[in-house]
Amino acid sequence: MSGTDVGLALAVFLACTVEAVEALTIVLAVGITRSWRSTFVGIGAAVILLGGVTAALGPALTALPLDVLRVAVGGLLLVFGLQWLRKAILRASGHKALHDEREIYERELSAARAAGRPAGRIDPYSFTISFKGVFLEGLEVIFIVLTFGANQHRVGLAAAAAGVAVALVVIAGVAIHAPLARVPENTMKFAVGVMLTSFGTFWGAEGAGAHWPGGDAALLAVIAGILLCALAAVAVMRGRRAAVSSEVVAEA
């Protein structure tokens, strides 16, 4: 397994763990408060639809010429990665509230209780919420697996990394029967943002016809550079926030 493969598997594993933790929180909240049967039907419907999306997009992606694929995938990963990184930096620097699974779980519980008692064999609320949660989070997993996998011709490796991540989260969720609030989700999102942005930069430039000095080894330098930029951004933004806070205190 090459260094690029390790990076690919790690990025997919981390991203899929984060998405699976978020889906698990929603599923647990509706399952516990309302109807497990309807929740499982919703999960099943989402998984079938996700399978259809994969079957449609997978072959289409792998059929593209390599340079076209790298530009498209690189561009998409860059846009996606910068979104993740932006949110992660804003959270780490205190400009945005940290993602808290316990708080989201409590909110979902309240909403599920407020929606009234389930009636009939299938509870539409449980079905809809679990379907939406699993489908939307699953769509991000599929997007990451397909783009990473197709680009490196390692769809199997990417799918395996995603499968392990989802399986671990499901096993942990079944075992503790509560949201996985101890997973360091904010740190993981920061790491995923760095990885997606780095791979996007590397593949996007290659696909556009640029040649990296040092070949594939340049990816390590790109990851290190983007990580340093992100950490510097956190430090600068924390400093600015602290300065603004002290000005407000001084004025009061």
Binding site: G75, L78, I89, L139, A205, A208, W212, P213, A218, V222
Partner: protein, 66 residues
Amino acid sequence: MRRLRALGEFIWEFLIGDDWLVAAGVVIAIGVTALVATTKVAAWWILPVAVALLLALTLWRASRTS
């Protein structure tokens, strides 16, 4: 029509996200890289520089509204 609009909004939110300038900047940076790559000038550095600038820009925009 409402469903089509909702689908469009979902795709926009999924792919473009909170700041459309990032997506536009990425497209422009890849285009410039492709143009420079056809010359004898090295083009590999353009995307990393663009990423650093776009990250700074989008954080600055977000911090103004937070």
